[in-house]
Symmetry: D3
Subunit: 134 residues, 6 copies
Amino acid sequence: MKVCRRVNFNAAHRLYRKDWSDEKNDAIFGKCNNPNFHGHNYVMEVWIEGDIDPETGYVIDLKILKDIIKEEIVERFDHKNLNLDCSEFENLIPTAENIILVSWNLLRSRLDEKFKLKLKLWETENNIFEYEGL
Amino acid sequence: MKVCRRVNFNAAHRLYRKDWSDEKNDAIFGKCNNPNFHGHNYVMEVWIEGDIDPETGYVIDLKILKDIIKEEIVERFDHKNLNLDCSEFENLIPTAENIILVSWNLLRSRLDEKFKLKLKLWETENNIFEYEGL
Amino acid sequence: MKVCRRVNFNAAHRLYRKDWSDEKNDAIFGKCNNPNFHGHNYVMEVWIEGDIDPETGYVIDLKILKDIIKEEIVERFDHKNLNLDCSEFENLIPTAENIILVSWNLLRSRLDEKFKLKLKLWETENNIFEYEGL
Amino acid sequence: MKVCRRVNFNAAHRLYRKDWSDEKNDAIFGKCNNPNFHGHNYVMEVWIEGDIDPETGYVIDLKILKDIIKEEIVERFDHKNLNLDCSEFENLIPTAENIILVSWNLLRSRLDEKFKLKLKLWETENNIFEYEGL
Amino acid sequence: MKVCRRVNFNAAHRLYRKDWSDEKNDAIFGKCNNPNFHGHNYVMEVWIEGDIDPETGYVIDLKILKDIIKEEIVERFDHKNLNLDCSEFENLIPTAENIILVSWNLLRSRLDEKFKLKLKLWETENNIFEYEGL
Amino acid sequence: MKVCRRVNFNAAHRLYRKDWSDEKNDAIFGKCNNPNFHGHNYVMEVWIEGDIDPETGYVIDLKILKDIIKEEIVERFDHKNLNLDCSEFENLIPTAENIILVSWNLLRSRLDEKFKLKLKLWETENNIFEYEGL
C-alpha cells in the first residue's frame, strides 16, 4: 500500500559550474544560467510504501508525514535561493534531479526503515522528476 | 500495456474505533473523528495491465471497464455515508487505505485473471493512495 | 485590480426540507437527500477588488486575507457536518448556493468597505458557483 | 532517477476495421467509428530513466529531449488525421494503445541504449494509457 | 448568484473557406486547414445567473441543466466532425468563437428568460473563449 | 466575444523597499523579503474582447496574439530576476499586482484600440490576480 502527501515550495536557483567558462555554462545550461537567478513553484509528492496498521487503518498518519516534510523540505527550501541559502547546494548544481536526490536523503533519514520512499517533483508543468533510491 | 479509467464519487465518513475512548480517537484521528461525519470528493483511477488485443487494438474496452466500475464502486459509494450505508465498513475504519483495499477486491473479482489491477485514489488534492494487491 | 486567495474545506451535508415528505425530498434533491449525509471537498476562491497601495504594491496582504478566511470559513466548515454542526444552516438548506451566500456575508463583515468581494466555489469539478453580493 | 517532458498534440482519428461489417464496427467501436472522424487533445509524458551525469546534474538535457519529441511525435501527429495522414496507422487501428506503442518505438530508436523509456498518454481526462516496452 | 455545469465533447474540425484559394486558407488558418481534419477535447462551462429559489436553495437544478446540455451540446457535437456532421457549420467556419456562439443560441432557446447565460470554452489548455450574448 | 491565450514564465523576485528598515521590510513582506530572492512559475491568461471577424470566424488570430505575448512578456520576464534584470521594476516593487499592471500596459500598447484587454495571473496555485485597466 502506498500513501502520498503533496507539498509546494517556491525557490530561486541558477544552473552553472564555477569551474566552467561563461561560454560553456551558457552552452549547457542556456537561460537557466542567468547570473541573477530565476525561480520556480516546485510541487513535491512524497510517497511512502508500507503495510496498513490494522489498528488505525493507516500506513502512516499523513499529519505526521506532513510535519516531517515541513521540517525537512518546506522550511529548508521555501522562499529560498537554493544556491546561496542552502548548504546542500554549496557544491552541487541545484538541478531538479539533485533537489529530488537531496530531498530523498533528508526524508529517508527521518522515516522508519520499514517504509519505502519515493519522491516526485514538478519543476514546471512540463518538467517532472521521480526518484526512489538505489 | 496499461490502460486506465478515472471516476469520481462523493461520500461522507468518520474515522474512529468503537473500542477506543473519545480521547484516544481524538488523539489518533483528530478532526476526522467528528461524530457527525465530514466528507470528500474521491477521485479513483482504475489501471488494468494486459496485452493489446491485435483484433481491436484495445487492452480492454474502456466502456466495459467504465460499466464495471460504475456497478462496483460508484453505485456503492457515491452520495453515501461509508460508515452507515456501506456494509464493507461495518467493521473496518473507512480510511482511504481501506477504501482502496475494499475497492481493489471488488474490482479484482470482476476482471479476467489475465489482467493485473492497480488503483490510485485521491482523498484530497494533497492526500493520495495507490494499491496493486499483494 | 482584483486579488484572490484559494482555500479548501471538506464537509458532509444533506439536502432536504423537514416540511416536505420523503417523496418530495427525493424528487427534488435525489441522492443528495441521503439521510446519512454525503460529502465534498469544497474549493473556494476569495476575490477582493481594490486599488494597489503605492507603498507596498499590494491591494491587500494575502497573508492577512488568508488568516481571515481561515477564521471565518475553514475553521467553521472544515471537517464538519454542515447540517448538524453549523448554526448557519439550522434553517437553511446547505446547497452550494447557500454556502457561498453565507460565506460572502461572513467575509464581507470582516473586510474594509473600500473592497469589493466576490466568491467562487467548486462543489465538484463539474459544479461551480459564483457570488458577488447584490 | 527518472525525468519527464510533457507535450501536447491535437489529432483526428476513427476506430474501425475495413474487414469488418458496419454493424460489427459499431458494436465494438461505438461512436468512435464515426466515418467522418472525431478528435482529441492528446497529452503525452515521456519518461527517461538513467543515472545523473555528475558533471551537469542532468540525466538528460530536457531541451534536447523536447527537440527529439517535437521531431518524432509532435510534427508527425499534431493537427493530423491519424488514419489518413500518418503511414504508421495505414494498417493499424489508431487506438490510444497503438498510438503509445508506435510513439514508444519512434522515441526508443532516437535515445541512447543506456536509458529506459516509459510513455504516459491522456486521450481524455478520464482515459489514460502507459507503456514501457516488453 | 451564478451556477455552472462543466461538460466535455470530443470532435474533429477543419478551418477553411471554400471561396478562398488553398494559399489563402493556409496563410490564414495554417495547420488548422488540414483537409483531412484534426480534433480537440473541448471543455465547456455553462454559467446561469439568477436568483436563489428560497424553497430549494437552488438557482436551477444542475441535474436538469446537465440534461439540457447533454441534449443540445453533447449529443450534437460529441464524437462528430463539426464540418461534415453538423448542419450548424455547413456555412459557418467551426472556429471556437463560432462553436461557442452556436452553443449559446442553442442553450438560450432552452432556458427560462429570467436567467442570464454565459459560456466558457477550452479548445486546448492554452486557447480559451467566453461569450455571454450581445 | 472574449478569447484568451495562456502562457508561462519562470522568474525570481524579492519584495522590499530600499527606503524601509530591514525590520519594516520583514514585518510587511515576511519571507518574500529574502535578500537572495526566491521565485515562481507564473501563469498568465491574456483575454481580448472584440467582435468576431465574419470572414475568418476569429476575434484575433491566436497565433498572432501568442507572438505578441512572447515578445512583450515571455522574452522580457522568463528566466529573469525581476528586480535586477527588468528595468520596469527598478523603482517598482515586483508584487504580482505590479507585474500584471506592467504587463497590461506593455500589451495594451501593442493591440488595436478596438480590443478590450484583461489579464489573469497565477503567482502560485492559491494566489491569483486579475486586471482590466481603469
